[in-house]
């Protein structure tokens, strides 16, 4: 029986146009919409599969009131419980977030529902700090495996695999442990209708941060300067094939 904790973050959907807040400390999501990143969706999927051995997966986020949406999305695909650390995520740096998640782990253990495994994304889609999982591991004094795409638990050990610079790598270590996940190893499931209904009604544990945040080391955000487009559109659809091959001829890449 394994009771993983999985950490998700409400992030702006960066596929639409990115607009900064007036104080340039964050991204204004009003126009963009919000989502859970692909890495974290895979982490949720892994947590749910791991808990299928008779355990229960818990999802946690540190975020504003609206972040409940991301918790409900994880409940809808099989997480059994949710914890919401209600706070302004922009005021919390990676060390702050790690400390707050560690506090959740300790408090749940004290309450008799310990997590032997914490899953996170490898990097958050907005701040991209690449470090909350590792800082969390040091807070808890647990080992950490980073950037893997499959994770399984058996006999008190976690086995994780991912692609490294020298080939496909396998890690195996005793629980408890922290693991950070990259997308690609599992296909996140879609919520079922009963899953969505259940998620709507599921109670969410709400808590406040345990300490004032140190904050990120951010000075400000800036948008890269727009580059004027000088693209020459050759056409639309398959009818443009002759124009494309003309270009190949002009560039001399067709000869052989």
């Amino acid at each position: 029986m394994t009771n993983p904790l999985v950490c998700v973050k409400r992030v702006v959907d960066a596929t639409s146009e990115v607009v900064l807040t007036e104080d340039a400390q964050g991204v204004d999501g009003r126009y963009a919409g919000f989502t859970t990143s692909a890495h974290e969706e895979c982490a949720v999927e892994l947590a749910v599969r791991i808990a299928a051995d008779g355990g229960a997966a818990t999802v946690v986020t540190l975020g504003d009131d609206d972040a409940v949406e991301q918790l409900r999305a994880a409940l809808a695909v099989g997480c059994a419980a949710a914890t919401h650390v209600v706070a302004d995520p922009q005021a919390f740096g990676p060390a702050d977030v790690a400390r707050e998640i560690a506090a959740v782990v300790r408090d749940h253990e004290a309450a008799g529902t310990p997590h032997e495994l914490v899953l996170l994304g490898n990097d958050a889609a907005d701040t991209g700090d690449f470090q909350v999982g590792i800082r969390l591991a040091y807070e808890l004094g647990w080992p950490v495996v980073n950037g893997v795409s499959t994770v399984s638990v058996a006999d008190g050990e976690v086995t994780a695999t991912g692609s490294g610079p020298d080939g496909h790598e396998t890690f195996r270590l005793p629980l408890p442990a922290v693991v950070t996940v990259l997308e690609g190893g599992v296909e996140p499931r879609y919520p079922s209708v009963p899953g969505r209904m259940k998620a709507k009604k599921a109670p969410i544990e709400e808590r406040r941060p345990t300490a004032d945040p140190v904050g990120p080391s951010r000075v400000r955000l800036v948008l890269p300067p727009p580059s004027p487009s000088t693209v020459q559109v050759l056409g639309e659809g398959p009818a443009s094939a002759p124009a494309v091959v003309d270009l190949f001829e002009q560039l001399g890449v067709l000869a052989r």
Partner: protein, 326 residues
Amino acid sequence: MIVVLVEVTPTGEVVETSREAMTFARDLAAAGGGVPIDAVVVGHPDDALVGTLASYGARRVHALTGAAYDSFSGAAWAAGLMAVRERAGAVVVTAAGTSRGNEVLAHVAARSALPMAANVVSFSSLSPFTVTRQVVGGAALEEMSLSQRPAIFTLAGHAVEAAPAATAGAGELVVETPDVADADLLARVISTEEPEPDLSGNLKSARVVVGAGRGAGSAEGFDDLLELAELLDASLGVSRVVTSLGWRPHHEQVGQTGSRISPDLYIPCGISGAIQHWAGCSSAKTILAINTDPDAPMVTKATHAVIGDLHEIIPAVNAEIRRRRA
């Protein structure tokens, strides 16, 4: 002093992004009035490797050796890096923004209770030390202050061009056997599967590259693109989405965490043109983007574009090439 974690390929060469990190460290050192740069590698480097690092300006090359370094462990690498940095009192610890680089430096940052800036592209001031880094998938940049010492950051791949130093460093080899605690070896690689052959050399030197992104749709969606590559005697280059989803091997990836290409012609099909992808293809002479979205960054940055479904356009282009050749 600046300490640079340097990664080495299985065949014993310095990886390109680590050479970039050495180059960036030199710029930083020069701005700081000529502070020395020490490289840290894992394993026993041969003379050629030490020579390369000296040519990039390394005063010393510290080699982390011993049983703890037989297989990868982020904590063990960090322990070794920190031993070197503490002894020398380095003011900066840096590495390339690769999976290893970001991981090991995050360990260093956590162990030192200091901030870390991931994927830096430039620095704007030395006091307070201020760097600019990629956030929101590259759609925005963050100015970040790293005023405490050591400053810990990774350099985004291909943010600078790797170049040897005008005057080489002494390149003195220092073999290190740091004490590594058992706890730092719990999360270590227990086995590595034989990697796919690294054919990225062909990609990097190709005159024409056919690119493919998420728009290819599935692992089965590459037939027409491969045929076009064949017809043009081109290499196939792909986005990270394509390698993450396992549609194509990693050595075909173009971008910040893949290869940097500079072909005469790049034909990105179904690739949105995220900054991390652009970092690997911006030096292509001509770019012909094929995309359903006329507003995709790849389209607006390209020299030429065709708007539409690649699965309709590419077969038509292939047929046209065959027709003209017949």
